[in-house]
Amino acid sequence: MERDKHFILGIFDDEDILLNAVKEIRDTGIRIHEVFSPYPVHGLDEELGYKRSRLPIAAFLFGVLGTTLALTMQFYMMKIDWTIIIGGKDFAAFPDFIPVTFELTVLLAAFGMVGVFMISSNLKPWAQPRIFDLRSTDDKHVMAIDIATNASVDLEKIKDALKSSGATEVNSKSFD
C-alpha cells in the first residue's frame, strides 16, 4: 500500500482525552501521522514528539539583520555620503539613530519570521489543503494514522487502540 494515501482517523471530543490517547497509542508502537485540532492544544506537540519550533531563532536572525541594515544605512547617509550640519550635531549622531534602528529591527524580525512560517508551513492563498475531516476546524480533534507506515500493525489493532483510548468515532479516509 502506498504511503501518505490511506488513513485511519480517530475523532476525539476532548483535549485531555486526546492528549492521553496520543501517549497511549504511541506507547503501543503505532506511529501517528498528524493530529488536526480546531485550536492549539497545549502539550500536544510534546506528546507527539515534535521538536520545539525554531522560528524564534529565525526572528532573532532577521532582527540582527534589521539592526545592521538600519545602522549601516544611517551612518552611510549621514556621515559618509552627504554630510549636513543639523543643529550643530555630530554627523554620526548615534543616539538619534536609535529609534529608526529599533523600528527596522522589529519590522524585519516580524516579517522575516512570518515569512519563514508561511513557507515552512506551506501557507499560501492558492494552497489546497488535504482536509481529513471537516469537523477538525469546528469542534473535533482528528488523529490521522497512516496505514502504510504502520504496515506491521494489524488494522483492527489500530482501530481498537483508537477506540479504547477514547475516540468517539473511528473512520478511514483515502486521498487520490
Binding site: D14, E15, E34, V35, F36, S37, P38, Y39, P40, V41, L44, D45, L48, Y50, R52, S53, L55, A59, M73, Q74, M77, M78, D81, W82, I84, I86, G87, K89, A93, D96, F97, P99, V100, F102, E103, L104, V106, L107, A109, A110, F111, M113, V114, F117, M118, S120, S121, L123, K124, P125, W126, A127, Q128, P129, R130, L134, S136, T137, D138, D139
Partner: protein, 454 residues
C-alpha cells in the same frame, strides 16, 4: 450540570460548547446583513462621502483650505493624528501585552480591538500624509530614497522622520499579527461553506489545516510577535510625543511626554474599544462572549491609565512652576485661564474627573454608564491634544504674532472623513470577518467557562 471554577468568574457564559462558539460567531459572516448593520453602513458611508469633499478640496486647493495661520501651523490635523494613533494603541495592548501576561480574558475582544488599531492607524496616517500638500511626491521627502538633489538624504535626527518609520512599522506589524490570528478562523468558515464563499475564504485561510505541527509554529509566532509588538507599541507613542518634546515651545519642551502620551493612548484606546464592543455585542448578540466581566476589566484599565494621565497633568504644572522659567509658567497659566480655558477645563473634566466614577462598582458594571463615559473619555482625549498643540502655539514668542485658531469647514470635513472611513471599515470587518477569535476562545473554553457536562 454546571461546573464553574470556584476561583475565577467564567470568561464565557451560557454553557457554550465548541460547536456553539463556531455557530455563534460564524453565523454573522454567513447570514444576511441585519437592518441595524445596513443603517450603520449607510450613515458611515454618508460621512465618508461628505468628508471626501473636504479631502478633495484639501488636495486640489492646498493646505490653505485649513484654518492654520502663520502662528498656529499645526492644529486640527496633528490633533486628529495623535488622537487616532492613540486609539490604535489599545488593540496592540490587548492582543500583545495581555498575551504576554497570560490574561485569558483578552481572547473575546482581541480580534475586534486589533481591527480597530489597523483602521485607526490608517486614519491617523492620513493627516501627516495630506499635510505634505502633495502626497504623491511625499515619498521622496519622507523616505530615504536616492534622489537628484545631491543625494540629499532625509534627516535622521528628526522625530518627524522617526514617526514615518514608527507608524509604518506599527501598521504593518499590527496587520500581520491580526492576519495570522485570522487564518485559523477563516479555515473554520471555509470548512462550513460551499461555492463562492468556500473559494474566497479558502484563499483567505492560506490552506490552513489545523495540524498540530502548524499550531506549534503558530503559537511560537504569536508569542514572538507579541514580544515584538509590546515594545513597538510603547515606542510609537513615545516617538509621537518626541514630535513635541524635542521642540523648544513652552508647554511642549518636557521630558514627561513619552510615558504621559503612552498612558493617554491606552486610556483613549480602551475607551474606543468599549464604545465599539458595547455596540457590537448588542448588535451581534455576543453577550455570552463579551461579558460584563470584560467590560469591568477594561474599565479598571481606564481608571489606572486615566489616573496616570491626571498625575501627568499635575506634574506638568508643578514642573512649570518649579523650573522658574517664565515662559513655561505663562504657558500653563494661559492654558487654564487664557482664551482656550474651555478646552482646558473640558479636558480636565473628561479625563481626570469622569473616569474616577469607575471606582464605584455599580458604574463600572453598568453598560449604559460605561458607554457614556467611554465617549466622554474620547472627547476629553481629543481636547488634551488640542490643548497641548493649539494653546502652546497660539502665544508665539512675539506678542505681535499672538492669534487665535479657527477651524474651517474643511478641517471639520477631513475629520469627518476619517470617522466615515473608520466606521465603514469596522462595519465591513464585523460583517465579513469573524469578529471574535474562535480558535482562542475555544482554547480557553474548557478551563474557564460555565460548562455543560452532558
Amino acid at each position: 450540570m454546571q461546573v464553574t471554577s470556584p476561583v475565577r468568574d467564567p470568561l464565557v457564559t451560557g454553557g457554550k460548547t465548541y460547536k456553539d462558539v463556531t455557530n455563534d460567531i460564524a453565523r454573522h459572516v454567513e447570514g444576511k446583513p441585519t437592518v441595524g448593520w445596513l443603517l450603520g453602513l449607510a450613515v458611515s458611508l454618508g460621512a465618508l462621502l461628505i468628508g471626501s469633499l473636504a479631502l478633495v478640496a484639501t488636495l486640489w486647493e492646498g493646505i490653505g483650505m485649513w484654518g492654520l495661520n502663520k502662528t498656529v501651523g499645526w492644529a486640527w490635523d496633528i490633533t486628529n493624528f495623535v488622537w487616532w494613533v492613540g486609539i490604535g494603541h489599545a488593540g496592540t495592548l490587548i492582543s500583545a501585552v495581555l498575551l504576554l501576561f497570560r490574561q485569558k480574558w483578552r481572547t473575546s475582544i482581541n480580534r475586534a480591538a486589533e481591527a480597530m488599531t489597523i483602521f485607526a492607524v490608517i486614519c491617523a496616517a492620513l493627516f501627516p500624509l495630506i499635510h505634505m500638500g502633495r502626497p504623491w511626491v511625499g515619498a521622496i521627502w519622507a523616505l530615504p530614497l536616492p534622489n537628484t538633489y545631491g543625494s540629499l538624504w532625509v534627516n535622521f535626527n528628526s522625530p518627524l522622520l522617526w514617526d514615518v518609520f514608527a507608524i509604518s512599522t506599527y501598521f504593518s506589524v499590527s496587520l500581520v499579527f491580526w492576519y495570522i490570528g485570522l487564518i485559523p478562523d477563516f479555515a473554520t468558515i471555509r470548512d462550513r461553506a460551499t461555492g463562492m464563499r468556500k473559494t474566497i475564504y479558502g484563499a483567505l485561510s492560506f490552506g490552513w489545516d489545523g495540524a498540530a505541527k502548524t499550531w506549534m509554529h503558530y503559537e511560537s509566532v504569536s508569542l514572538i510577535l507579541a514580544g515584538l509588538a509590546t515594545p513597538l507599541v510603547l515606542s510609537v507613542h513615545t516617538i509621537v510625543s518626541f514630535d513635541f518634546a524635542t521642540s523648544v515651545i513652552p508647554g511642549w519642551h518636557t521630558t514627561i511626554f513619552p510615558p504621559y502620551f503612552v498612558a493617554g493612548a491606552i486610556f483613549s484606546g480602551f475607551a474606543m474599544v468599549l464604545t465599539l464592543m458595547i455596540v457590537t455585542r448588542k448588535v451581534f448578540k455576543l453577550e455570552d462572549y463579551i461579558t460584563i466581566g470584560h467590560i469591568e476589566l477594561m474599565n479598571i484599565v481606564i481608571i489606572i491609565t486615566g489616573s496616570i494621565v491626571g498625575i501627568a497633568y499635575i506634574t506638568e504644572f508643578f514642573m512649570a512652576w518649579y523650573s522658574g522659567v517664565a515662559a513655561e509658567q505663562y504657558a500653563f497659566v494661559n492654558r487654564m485661564f487664557g482664551p482656550y480655558w474651555w478646552a482646558y477645563w473640558s479636558m480636565m473634566t473628561c479625563n481626570v474627573i469622569s473616569p474616577q466614577l469607575f471606582w464605584f462598582k455599580k458604574i463600572r458594571t453598568s453598560i449604559v454608564a460605561t458607554f457614556i463615559l467611554s465617549l466622554v473619555v474620547n472627547i476629553g482625549m481629543w481636547f488634551e491634544r488640542f490643548v497641548i498643540i493649539v494653546t502652546s502655539l497660539h502665544r508665539d514668542y512675539l506678542p505681535s504674532s499672538w492669534v487665535m485658531f479657527y477651524p474651517t469647514i474643511t478641517d471639520v470635513g477631513v475629520y469627518l472623513f476619517t470617522f466615515g472611513f473608520f466606521f465603514t471599515a469596522f462595519l465591513l470587518f464585523a460583517k465579513f470577518f469573524p469578529v471574535i477569535n474562535m480558535a482562542e476562545v475555544k482554547a480557553v473554553l474548557k478551563s474557564s467557562s460555565e460548562k455543560k457536562i452532558n
